[in-house]
């Protein structure tokens, strides 16, 4: 699983950085800098919550394609 942000929908609310600082830091304007490394299993739940907590649904999860991509 990897994290990705839709830069157009993102409005710099910053909840993602609160929820998942291991993968998201904020730049000086409040916008997320995403660490593109895969999310380890123990953080997957947090990653889902982070994506769910985004007010504009800008934080997206890329799940490994099993049959059809997410």
């Amino acid at each position: 699983m990897r994290i990705r942000v839709n830069p157009i929908t993102c409005e710099a609310h910053g909840l993602c950085a609160e929820m998942l600082p291991e993968r998201v830091t904020l730049d000086e304007w409040g916008y997320p800098i995403i660490d593109g490394r895969p999310v380890p299993r123990e953080l997957e739940g947090l990653a889902r919550r982070a994506a769910d907590s985004c007010p504009t649904l800008a934080l997206l999860l890329d799940l490994p394609k099993t049959r059809r991509g997410a």
Binding site: P7, I8, W29, G30
Partner: protein, 425 residues
């Protein structure tokens, strides 16, 4: 066959009508009935030819067609004749003078992927080009009422309006701004259908390959980068304009073909305002092909080369263009909006001697910060342009940081900006 290819038989007075076009290039081979199982023929030929996009991204054309073919839904062809790059004139030239060659390529692509619609995207401020395309379409038997459905769409002018997803967005919703991908336009574009967006020059090359084949195409150029390409050469050049070059030829030979330089050159900008500066020493003997350019950190991009004379102030030029580019942001992505504005402001401060000692560090940090963080490659291009300027013109920037504006700052600019903008100072 040698050069010219795309520019063969051009009439300075205007567009080549259909019969003159056929006289120069021959007939387009008859359709293979446009059934999907016949599609591989052209796509295979394009694959063997090694044709890659001429709009700046350089994506292998055959791969694009294959992706569109594999996607679900009836494809749409978009010919991208939008030339957001202010110093570029090649696409407008093709559309105004040899529209039939572009249309040939579009029709061939449409048949290869079984598309039923071709959209020609032309800048709204290029009425001659639009009219030439419309007139050419009306002349032909394979388009218009009797053939493929074709439309000419006027795209509002803007640096990023010609980006492929921006064109699709404009056609779909009337908003000429890039969209976030995925999904890529080849999967879901115009009307949610797979959309093949190709630069006008790329499409014109397809029009040639469909007639003459891959082997013919590969007779020019290099092994890795076959074929010819159009380049707009401007700046301190005796006869600036659009030239057709063979990949791998030298910059010197191109400049010579343009009548040489009119004054000593300080540096060369390769790839347009989102491209890279190379100083004159590095430009000597430079071969115009992807690999040799990559070595100096550059690429041809949309085929724009600007020779900056020593009489110009590179700092002032960089500030002007960077400020304009910041204003050309679509305004959709935070890092681009904030980052480019910060870069432009700081550059202006440095040019005026107000930057402070850490300005260079801040600029470098911001250039990295905006790269790959927008929905399109606009901030990446600006970062590249500014970073290379800071590197190549390090002395001039240091000078300005200490002493402020120089005597050359107020000179007539070399890097042109579209007249629709009035800049203060």
């Amino acid at each position: 066959m040698s050069l010219p290819r795309l520019l063969a038989g051009l009439d300075p007075a205007g567009a080549l009508p259909l019969d003159a076009h056929v006289a120069v290039h021959g007939e387009l081979p008859p359709s293979t009935a446009g059934r999907r199982q016949d599609a591989p023929a052209l796509i295979e030929e394009l694959g063997r030819s090694g044709l890659s996009g001429r709009g700046g991204a350089g994506f292998p054309t055959a791969q694009k067609l294959g992706a569109v073919l594999a996607a679900r839904g009836r494809p749409v062809i978009v010919v991208n004749g939008c030339e957001g790059e202010p110093a570029s004139e090649k696409d407008r030239l093709l559309l105004e003078r040899t529209p039939h060659l572009v249309i040939d390529g579009a029709v061939a692509c449409a048949r290869a992927v079984d598309a039923d619609q071709i959209i020609f995207a032309v800048d709204a401020d290029a009425p001659t080009a639009r009219w030439a395309v419309q007139a050419a379409l009306a002349e032909r038997p394979d388009t218009g009422r009797r053939g493929l459905d074709t439309t000419v769409v006027a795209i509002p002018p803007g640096y990023v309006s010609g980006q492929e997803s921006a064109i699709v967005n404009f056609v779909n919703r009337g908003i000429p701004k890039p969209t976030a991908v995925p999904p890529m336009v080849f999967e879901r574009g115009v009307g949610r259908r797979p959309t093949l967006v190709n630069n006008a020059e790329t499409v014109a090359q397809v029009g040639l390959i469909a007639r003459c084949g891959a082997d013919w195409f590969r007779r020019l150029g290099t092994q890795d980068q076959p074929g010819s390409a159009l380049v707009t050469l401007t700046g301190a050049i005796a006869e600036p304009g659009v030239f057709e070059i063979e990949y791998g030829s030298t910059l010197d030979s191109l400049i010579a073909a343009a009548g040489g330089t009119v004054s000593p050159i300080r540096a060369v900008l390769l790839g347009g305002y989102g491209g890279t500066w190379v100083d004159s020493a590095g430009a000597i003997g430079l071969r115009l092909a992807a690999e040799p350019l990559r070595v100096v950190g550059a690429s041809l991009g949309p085929g724009v080369i600007i020779a900056l004379p020593e009489s110009a102030c590179p700092v002032a030029e960089t500030v002007r263009v960077a400020t304009w580019l910041a204003g050309e942001s679509a305004g959709q992505c935070g890092p681009c909006v904030h980052g480019l504005a910060a870069i432009a402001r700081t550059l202006a401060d440095v040019a005026d001697g107000r930057g402070g000692p850490e300005a260079g560090g801040r600029l470098g940090r911001w250039a990295e910060l905006v790269t790959r963080r927008g929905a399109c490659a606009h901030p990446d291009g600006v970062a590249r342009f500014v970073a290379s300027a800071l590197r190549v013109f390090a002395d001039e920037f240091a000078d300005h940081a200490h002493y402020g504006r120089c005597t050359a700052c107020a000179r007539r600019p070399v890097l042109r900006l579209p007249e629709r903008f009035a800049l203060a100072g």
